[in-house]
């Protein structure tokens, strides 16, 4: 069975959610959302999932603050963030390029990152575009820092960075990424060439594993239907539903 790049990413992220009680998925996150739903199914419902702005995949009913309260209560085990820029210390920039506030490129804004990145134990950074434009040596604006000094209350932070080319795991003590797997069809040279920050190499860099046939069938069947609730266009484009 031929596995699409999006399917590989979904499977890769889903494997990072093992053992998590409750995963929350923010806006504009169809691939992480699919991954969370896949993990929910693989765990037979042990992993609970909340997908923002869905009809049937969310349980928030106490206003715009409830998601953040849940994170602060320690009820959210994993969350996803991205960045217009992400740097080698896992700092993320959702604001713009150039000098604040008159950036020459301006994005939407920092949303919940400047709180969730600190409080959710396992934050998975996801950015499909893996170029020197997105993965930079130093972000122009820190929406949320990758690490904090020890006196800062920070039970959470970055766990991994998943891109269209590879997977980096994050070492919080060293504040450094470590390349652990490269997606099929991509190479270490290509990763080096397209990454603007320095990173470590795992002792044993593997090819990112593909989902097996039953998992792929699960993904293309029930999960595709579920993700069509918040992301109909994505479900149509990737899974044809």
């Amino acid at each position: 069975m031929d596995c699409k790049p999006q399917e590989l990413l979904i499977f890769t992220i889903a494997r990072m959610l093992e053992g998590i009680d409750h995963v929350a998925v923010g806006v504009s996150s169809p691939i992480p959302g699919s991954a969370a739903l896949l993990q929910r199914s693989l765990s037979e419902g042990k992993t609970q999932v909340t997908v923002l702005n869905s009809r049937n995949l969310q349980t928030l009913n106490d206003g715009a603050g409830e998601l953040f309260d849940r994170a602060a209560q320690g009820r959210i085990g994993a969350f996803f963030l991205s960045g217009g820029q992400i740097d080698g210390h896992a700092n993320i920039n959702l604001v713009g390029i150039g000098d604040y506030p008159r950036h020459h490129v301006r994005w939407s804004g920092s949303f919940g990152s400047a709180m969730l990145y600190y409080l959710v134990p396992r934050v998975i950074l996801f950015r499909e575009e893996h170029t020197r434009r997105t993965l930079v040596d130093q972000v122009d604006f820190i929406s949320a820092p990758g690490t904090s000094p020890p006196e800062i209350h920070r039970p959470g932070g970055p766990y991994a960075l998943v891109t269209g080319r590879c997977v980096f795991m994050f070492d919080r003590k060293k504040a450094h990424f470590r390349l652990t797997s490269i997606h099929p069809g991509h190479s270490l040279d290509e990763v080096h060439e397209n990454t603007g920050f320095a990173f470590d190499l795992a002792d044993n860099i593997v090819e990112t594993p593909l989902p097996d046939a039953p998992t792929l069938a699960l993904l293309r069947g029930p999960i595709a239907q579920e993700i069509a609730d918040p992301y109909p266009a994505f479900a149509h484009q990737v899974f044809g539903v």
């Binding site: 206003g63 804004g109 949303f111």
Partner: protein
């Protein structure tokens, strides 16, 4: 309860007012927004609770806004909010960037009549560097050093939103959009447009009362069917995604935006 027209409602939101607005999925008063643009409102200080989309973009594009306080302005799946981005890059509005929970907590402090609310996070972010009104103190409850951010209370002059249902007494049913309750509690005045007005007393309706804003907090109500179009309204109507895509395209330059606005102003009855 004073039931007024959408035009009159817009007239009662004065230039320079601090106006709290909800996120795109929670009852955005777009008919009233058109009326605000129509009356050439100026120097509004918009406070998104905690983000905005087409509403802020339209008001910014039409020159109604001098300060924008938000955790993000986006047209979601339709892309960037073009007027917001251009205006920020041009430096012609004052931007107060923040993060979602900080705006919600600040509003909750306003609701509670307390001067500030602490929040975890933010320390080490450049957001904090540009917000001198956010203070860092050492947590007095902790024996060890424990820096924590204090957010000042947000007390909007006005809360403006669209809801499914009001009654003749001025009670407003908001369903699951609980942030609208906090907005009404925290704001000095609350203006609401609604899909429908019922003769039933919502506060005496066992099922609706728990999600009803009591009339006490409501300044005035205007009837505006599809008052959040082209955005949707939970339980009432879906977003008009084609129109939102047209808006997203138009918002990329000032001229197309003006064209869209002119067409829309004609279409939206105020």
């Amino acid at each position: 309860m004073p039931e007024i027209s959408v035009r009159e409602l817009a007239n009662r939101i004065p230039d320079g007012a601090k106006v709290a607005i909800p996120p795109s999925r929670s009852g955005v008063a777009l008919a009233a927004t058109c009326a605000l643009i129509d009356r050439k409102a100026r120097n509004l200080h918009l406070i998104a609770i905690p983000t905005s989309g087409i509403q802020a973009d339209m008001l910014i594009g039409a020159g109604c806004v001098s300060v924008m306080e938000c955790a993000g302005v986006t047209l979601d799946e339709h892309g960037q909010a073009g007027r917001f981005v251009e205006t920020v890059k041009a430096g012609s509005i004052t931007l107060r960037d923040s993060t979602c929970p900080a705006l919600v907590s600040g509003l909750q402090a306003g609701e509670k009549g307390i001067p500030f609310m602490p929040m975890r996070g933010l320390i080490g972010s450049d957001l904090l560097k540009h917000r001198p009104d956010y203070k860092v103190i050492d947590n007095p409850m902790s024996d060890d050093p424990d820096p924590i951010v204090l957010l000042p209370a947000i007390t909007p002059d006005i809360a403006l939103f669209h809801a499914p249902l009001a009654d003749r007494h001025g009670n407003v049913w908001i369903g699951n959009m609980r942030e609208l309750m906090t907005m009404a509690h925290a704001a000095r005045q609350t203006f609401v447009t609604v899909e429908e007005i019922t003769d039933t007393d919502l506060m005496r309706d066992e099922l609706r009362a728990p999600a009803t804003i009591p009339a006490l907090y409501i300044t005035a109500i205007a009837h505006a069917r599809a008052g959040s179009w082209p955005l949707g309204l939970q339980g009432c109507h879906d977003p008009d995604n084609e129109e939102l895509a047209r808006y997203a395209a138009a918002s990329r330059d000032a001229e197309s935006f003006a064209g869209w606005l002119a067409r829309t102003q004609k279409r939206v009855t105020v």
